[in-house]
């Protein structure tokens, strides 16, 4: 389980995780969308050969998507180790996951290589350092598609240059409850950042969780990108703290009522949907941070967020479950985690 799920990190009460992803491609090999099945396994073989298996990737697990079942693939998506895109691309894709699950390297997703490092709290720079050092190790082994003028060449022109996507997963219930969220999100978009849902591109906003990431990859260095996102995140973080403080001072009963109702439902429900549990979890997180509820380790809250999703539930039950069965098991797991 990745450290962003089980460990504390700086400003963890608001910033759930920091992630850096680097897109890289091999020179003189068509991008994955243009590859035949045969040449796609050549790509994997080039990066994950005998030498790398026993060296750089010694502490990694390797999953070939075609040998990985549906439930297992989507359980990896739920733990943010692979993208929904790779899970769907089940004939040519693969992933390398470090044993501590902080690093994952997707092969034959949109690009040949996508290195990602995730850490708890606000630690974008640290995540960049990890991703960059793995990048150096892979580069010593293969030839990257790189152009002196355009930088790292990628399948999508939105990634060309540094190929970096730095992002934070940020929990903003205070700004949402005080109806300030749209103002903040609009301002964020005006400074060259993008906002995405819980699972990345094209996914919806649930449980007051937003992913904010850089958009520009050409003509800006990785350090500038990381510093810029860190600076903006710190400002949003302060606004969220301010909003939480104001809610506590001015609308205390409303806030306490919301938090205790959420606690009541989560600790008593016998059947609950994923959508509802994410909404209530957001209120419980807020309640803990405001001192309304007793302290619960962040690992328990994150386990509820990750392990009670559809695929993870079925994986732990070791069988396929229909929606009503999942909702019953989810309620059971949540009660167990919160009452321990």
């Amino acid at each position: 389980m990745g450290s962003w799920i089980k460990d504390d990190g700086p400003n963890n009460n608001i910033v759930l995780s920091s992630r850096v992803r680097l897109a890289r491609n091999l020179s003189n090999v068509p991008f994955p969308a243009m590859l035949t099945k045969e040449s796609s396994s050549d790509v994997i073989e080039k990066i994950y050969d005998e030498e790398m298996r026993n060296g750089v990737f010694k502490e990694y697990k390797f999953y070939n998507m075609q040998d990985t079942g549906f439930v297992d693939r989507y359980a990896l998506v739920e733990r943010h180790l692979i993208s929904p895109n790779l899970a769907a691309q089940n004939s040519i894709g693969a992933v390398l996951i470090s044993n501590d699950e902080d690093v994952s390297i997707m092969l034959n997703e949109e690009d040949h290589i996508r290195i990602q490092a995730v850490l708890p709290g606000l630690q974008i720079k640290e995540a960049w350092n990890i991703a960059s050092s793995i990048d150096d190790k892979i580069e010593s082994k293969v030839d990257y598609a790189f152009d002196d003028r355009l930088g790292y060449l990628t399948s999508c022109p939105t990634n060309v240059g540094t190929g970096i996507r730095a992002s934070v997963m940020i929990h903003l219930p205070g700004l949402n409850l005080s109806s300030n969220i749209n103002k903040i999100l609009q301002a964020v978009m005006q400074v060259g950042l993008t906002i995405r849902g819980f699972y990345g591109e094209g996914t919806e906003f649930i449980g007051n969780i937003f992913q904010i990431s850089n958009q520009i990859t050409l003509g800006r260095s990785e350090e500038e990108t990381v510093d810029n996102l860190t600076g903006i995140t710190e400002q949003i973080l302060n606004k969220e703290k301010e909003a939480r403080g104001l809610l506590f001072d001015n609308n205390r009963i409303m806030l306490e009522d919301k938090v205790w109702r959420a606690w009541g439902l989560m600790t008593n429900a016998r059947s609950i949907s994923g959508q509802e549990s994410m909404k209530l979890l957001s209120e419980i997180r807020l309640g803990i941070d405001m001192g309304i509820l007793k302290r619960i380790p962040v690992s328990v809250l994150n386990k509820i967020m990750v392990d009670t999703n559809n695929a993870s539930l079925q994986k732990s039950a070791a069988k396929e479950l229909n929606t009503p069965e999942r909702d019953i098991l989810r309620a059971e797991e949540i009660r167990k985690l919160l009452m321990q």
């Binding site: 991008f31 790189f146 003028r149």
Partner: protein
Amino acid sequence: MQCEECGKKPATVHIIKIENGAKTDMHLCEQCAIEKNPINLKANFSVQDLVAGLLKSGNKGPFKVDIVHEAKCNVCGLTYSKFKAAGKFGCSNCYKVFGDRLNPLFKKLHGNIIHTGKLPNKAGSKIKLVREIEKLKQELNTAVMNEEYEKAADIRDKVRELNSMEQEEHNGQLD
């Protein structure tokens, strides 16, 4: 002018073929233009049909036919119009083939057209030198603006040194 193909009959058809920006001229006689046309298009409505049609239309030659092939990547086969429709490149060579016509897109997406970030360790030492020189020049400007002339002189010497290193490297590549 005689036909370039058979060398017997007079060339009455002038074909200009433009592929990936490279221009080729062909001077052929009517028969060769139809039969031995070096441009093999398998579509029903082919260049051959077009030329034949023109010849049959009763116009007296010589006349000109321009054949313009759109930019197409010679590695993965992606055409520029397909790229524009899908928004994704087929391989890294596409960047080279589509060349400067991508600049407006990069400008729109990133506001820039030049990479300023990380370089692979394998990247040429030349690009690293050029970057270093650019950085020093900026420092030089700041030093002059702040009237730190001693510091400016030091930086200037360093720039000169690096410039000559770059020149040497350049000459080395020419050898």
